[in-house]
């Protein structure tokens, strides 16, 4: 696939010095609803960026624009300085973005290991014909297998390796999804509410895991989260949106002090 070749080449089409991700006045309308209204922000390489906002603020909509599942009505999205709005959705993984879904979208009837293997799709290329006859695909398949097993171990999922993903407990499923998103070695990882449904101890583990992912996998992270203490403690920068508009952007401390943010969001949940 072209996308993966680009990935191997490393920096094909990269504009030097550009931020990793540039969201430029993105507007999304669904009929009468304005889900995103001229949102702009940049993400620098190596950062963990928190994206916060009340329910319905447009966070998931933004993720879906980045994944090319939604087409922005206006605006542009640049990845390493190049617009991705011309790329089909399936090319985004190859460009270097991996993601998880708010509601956990696993391949339920596949094993945990196979789920992670599918995550390797964009960085492998065995086609139908060779695979059908099992010819010339052994080496790549072995690499996929090794990569998947390493990530299963990395996310502490070894006991579940061969189990079907569907019936697993929710926190485990979230970790499987994270492992799957990491499989292609993305440069930007989009996490949509990874802490939802986790208890206190699990959130602490997640915090460590997100940092570990950033440090050891060399990924930049865009983190949508309601869990304030998690976002504020793990993020380098925070972007706050409400009703599709950006309210504030800055360090966690700056955003926490912002009057609009306090009113829109923290006001109700600051004590939680």
């Amino acid at each position: 696939m072209v996308a993966s070749v680009e990935k191997v080449g490393g920096s094909l089409g990269t504009v030097p010095g550009a931020p990793l991700l540039s969201v430029r006045s993105v507007t999304v309308r669904f009929g009468g609803i304005v889900a995103l209204n001229g949102v702009s922000f940049d993400i620098s390489e190596g950062h963990i960026v928190g994206l916060i906002g009340p329910n319905g603020a447009g966070k998931t909509t933004l993720f879906n624009c980045l994944s090319r599942l939604y087409q922005p009505t206006e605006g542009d999205i640049l990845y390493k300085g190049k617009s991705i709005l011309q790329s089909p959705p399936y090319a985004i993984a190859g460009v270097g973005m991996g993601r998880t879904f708010q509601n956990v979208a696993l391949f339920d009837n596949m094993s945990v290991l196979d789920n992670v293997k599918v995550g390797c799709h964009s960085v492998s290329q065995a086609g139908f014909l060779k695979s059908a006859f099992g010819v010339g695909v052994g080496a790549e398949e072995a690499r996929i297998e090794a990569r998947a097993r390493e990530l299963v171990a990395f996310m502490d999922l070894l006991p579940y390796t061969d189990m079907r993903a569907g019936p697993l407990p929710f926190p485990i499923r979230k970790r499987v999804e994270l492992a799957r998103a990491l499989a292609s070695g993305p440069s930007l990882l989009l996490l949509d509410e990874p802490a939802a449904g986790l208890n206190h101890a699990e959130v602490d583990v997640l915090k460590a895991q997100i940092r570990r992912v950033r440090d050891l996998q060399n990924v930049t992270v865009l983190l949508v989260e309601h869990h304030m203490s998690l976002v504020m403690s793990v993020s380098d920068r925070v972007v706050a949106i409400d009703f599709g508009k950006k309210l504030a952007e800055g360090t966690p401390a700056e955003v926490q002090r912002n009057a609009d943010v306090v009113r829109a969001y923290l006001g109700t949940e600051a004590h939680a």
């Binding site: 979208a105 960085v123 290329q125 171990a153 940092r211 570990r212």
Partner: protein, 425 residues
């Protein structure tokens, strides 16, 4: 992939091993593309992960403090060291019995034929079971594994059958050579039909394929291609003799050919499902949006799966024409499409061994349901006249209720239950 072992997988593994042996030489040219892919996977942060899996075990001092022994998940106490995740041995053992089954099936010809206790007619029936099994498997790839419903695969069966018949009858092509031609034609037809069908979901796809199935007999009767297809009369063929003066009847010989083809097609199915494209096929069925996000070009994969599925069914059709020595438009009515689908559901959707059961179902239950209904009426002296096929319908409903996963799924559940009981006591 949690696909149960197939009857064919023993032979499959053997051939795969063979191919690997020659891989280095034969595939030197093809290796170029593969090299790229290897780099692609390696280029990702594989080595960091290794250090990380160490970290996950709490052996890297630096990261230990930060995440260390936090209660990650219920079974966090059972962290398995990476060394313990090597085993792949369990796959080997399970190849034994499918191998035995295939060997037995092949040797049937040797002793069954000579002893005369398997008639030519019975060989034909066995062949038909395998032919339908190939077709059911093909539809299973599409419907069971990829989640696309087709009520029209009889059309590809017909295309394969007529390809073989026309080539043999009108152009004197060797019957074996008609198989690859049928495969290619059916792939193209299936792919092209699959492309626009991509926009259709669920019921609408079912409707479009239904239209295809009902159109086929009419197309075959079309006056202007009568010279080729023989119109309503169809085409009569003569079963090929066994070559090299082998002491086999034509029916025995074709049984061997069909058996080989079935093994080949099951082996290919297994290979595919265990591969990158195979996982993509299943991923699309389970979670299409996530599949796209993983980089899967779902449109291309779905159309290709449609094509491959048509290849299976088309090959089955071609073999059917050869062993049945006859094709006609009315052999490929809508019933055939339904029969293949019912075979897939009865055998077990998304199950490879289930396809074999489905094949037997199509051949035997379907063919004898009518007679069985009559016999049943006589036997219990029913005061009412049962419609033909009543038994079939009742059986089908009962089966779907009792074994929603098809016969293969039902058997698997049963075996699992027995095993659990044993381990408890």
């Amino acid at each position: 992939m949690t696909i149960q072992q197939t009857t064919a997988s023993a032979a499959a593994e053997a051939v795969r091993e063979l191919l690997r042996g020659h891989g280095a030489v034969a595939m030197a040219g093809a290796a170029a593309g593969n090299l790229v892919s290897q780099t692609a996977v390696t280029a990702g942060p594989v080595s960091p992960v290794v250090t990380m899996s160490a970290a996950a075990d709490g052996t890297t001092p630096g990261t230990h403090a930060s995440h260390g022994s936090a209660p990650v998940a219920p079974p966090s106490g059972m962290r398995v060291p990476p060394a313990a995740m090597a085993p792949r041995a369990k796959k080997r053992n399970s190849l034994l019995w499918p191998g035995i089954v295939v060997a037995l099936a092949a040797s049937l010809v040797l002793f069954g034929g000579k002893g005369g206790w398997i008639s030519n007619f019975q060989y034909l029936q066995l062949s038909l079971v395998l032919v339908y099994a190939i077709a059911v498997l093909g539809l299973n790839l599409l419907t069971g594994f990829n989640g696309q419903i087709s009520l029209g695969h009889g059309a590809f069966f017909a295309l394969g059958a007529y390809t073989a018949a026309v080539l043999i009858d009108r152009y004197n092509v060797n019957y074996l050579l008609t198989l690859p031609v049928a495969a290619i034609l059916c792939f193209v037809a299936g792919y092209l039909f699959g492309l626009p069908a991509l926009r259709l979901e669920g019921h609408y796809l079912a409707l479009a394929t239904f239209a295809l199935a009902t159109a086929v007999p009419q197309i075959l009767k079309y006056r202007h291609i009568e010279g080729l297809t023989g119109g309503v009369q169809g085409i009569n063929l003569v079963k090929p003799d066994a070559p090299f003066g082998l002491p086999l009847s034509p029916d025995q010989w074709m049984y061997v050919i069909v058996l080989l083809m079935a093994v080949l097609m099951f082996w290919i199915g297994r290979n595919l499902l265990d591969s990158r494209p195979g996982r993509a096929i299943v991923a699309i069925r389970d979670q299409p949006l996530a599949a796209i996000t993983m980089g899967i070009d779902t449109a291309r994969f779905k159309a290709t799966t449609f094509g491959i599925s048509a290849v299976y069914v088309g090959l089955a059709g071609a073999l059917h024409a050869i062993i049945f020595e006859y094709v006609s438009p009315d052999s490929f009515r809508f019933d055939l499409s339904v029969a293949i689908l019912v075979g897939a559901v009865v055998g077990g959707i998304a199950s490879l061994p289930g396809a074999l059961i489905g094949g037997a179902f199509v051949q035997f239950i379907e063919k004898y349901a009518d007679a069985a209904t009559k016999q049943f009426t006589n036997l219990v002296q029913l005061p009412i006249e049962l419609e033909p096929w009543t038994i079939y319908g009742i059986l089908l409903i009962a089966l779907i209720y009792v074994m929603p996963g098809g016969v293969a799924g039902g058997l698997a559940t049963l075996i699992a239950k027995i095993k659990r009981k044993r381990s408890v006591s």
